[in-house]
Subunit: 174 residues, 2 copies
Amino acid sequence: MRRIAVVLIAVAALAGAVAYMPSASGQADGEADPVFGIKIPAGYRDWRLITVAHEEGSLNDLRAILGNDVAINAFREEKLPYPDGTIIARLAWNYEPLKESEKAFGRLQSFVAGPPKNGVQFMVKDSKKYASTGGWGFAQFDDGKPASEAMQKTCFPCHEIVKARDFVFSRYAP
Amino acid sequence: MRRIAVVLIAVAALAGAVAYMPSASGQADGEADPVFGIKIPAGYRDWRLITVAHEEGSLNDLRAILGNDVAINAFREEKLPYPDGTIIARLAWNYEPLKESEKAFGRLQSFVAGPPKNGVQFMVKDSKKYASTGGWGFAQFDDGKPASEAMQKTCFPCHEIVKARDFVFSRYAP
């Protein structure tokens, strides 16, 4: 009787724990990018905010950088290099004026996120698997499908500019 | 023996569940704003992203709108009015050029979040408590302290512009 009780207690505790696991640790889904073999991580839209940015020029977007738990902890601890398992997501939306801001401020001065654009991008840290590109895999997905191989190969040469920050442009916005 | 086992199982399951409760449901802390009695909600920096924006003019910031779970669900379901318990947070940082973007893009075109500025603002839905201001309480905190009473009173008159969207300017950025 006692042994059964002990086993049942353990099972119940585990069930209680598992029932509340954050969904962000789910499996990746869909087609993998052709260069680094990355799939869209499940639940990335629910990840926490690292920072925000605006791109002028042809990109013309407002963007948010989100990170999984490993990423957020690394950014907050400010320890380089980022640990294996870090995943950073870049989401972007069209840069649009908010017409109500004219009434609110007396001049049209607010710019907000319109429809999504410029795909979604990910950086995935795996220092062994991606050793030849600074330990990072890079992927872009447009409407859920991997961008072209040519496109995926443009990521690292650009990120090499910030090699001293472990190839990451973003800084944590507190 | 059996009764003890049942109780222990229940306690273990509860402990397992509680151990993984998201911390965002913590209590508010610090000094309350003088108009609506709102305190800074604990863990708001860990809330999920609703959208991003850029303010020109004297504000000159990049901003992120975060929401607690009630808020995120309401934005995603696109059901108005927002339910009681909705809390929306507006964070903001200085609008600064990213000098590396000149190397990356051939022209300086990226603007990123610098130090925090313009305080942090909250909208809290409680249709009974805040009935005279559309069901919303508004608060701004600068360096953790409530902004002036005069400042807090400027919020609602401006948000009345978007009464048709239950007084919320933000739209969910997917």
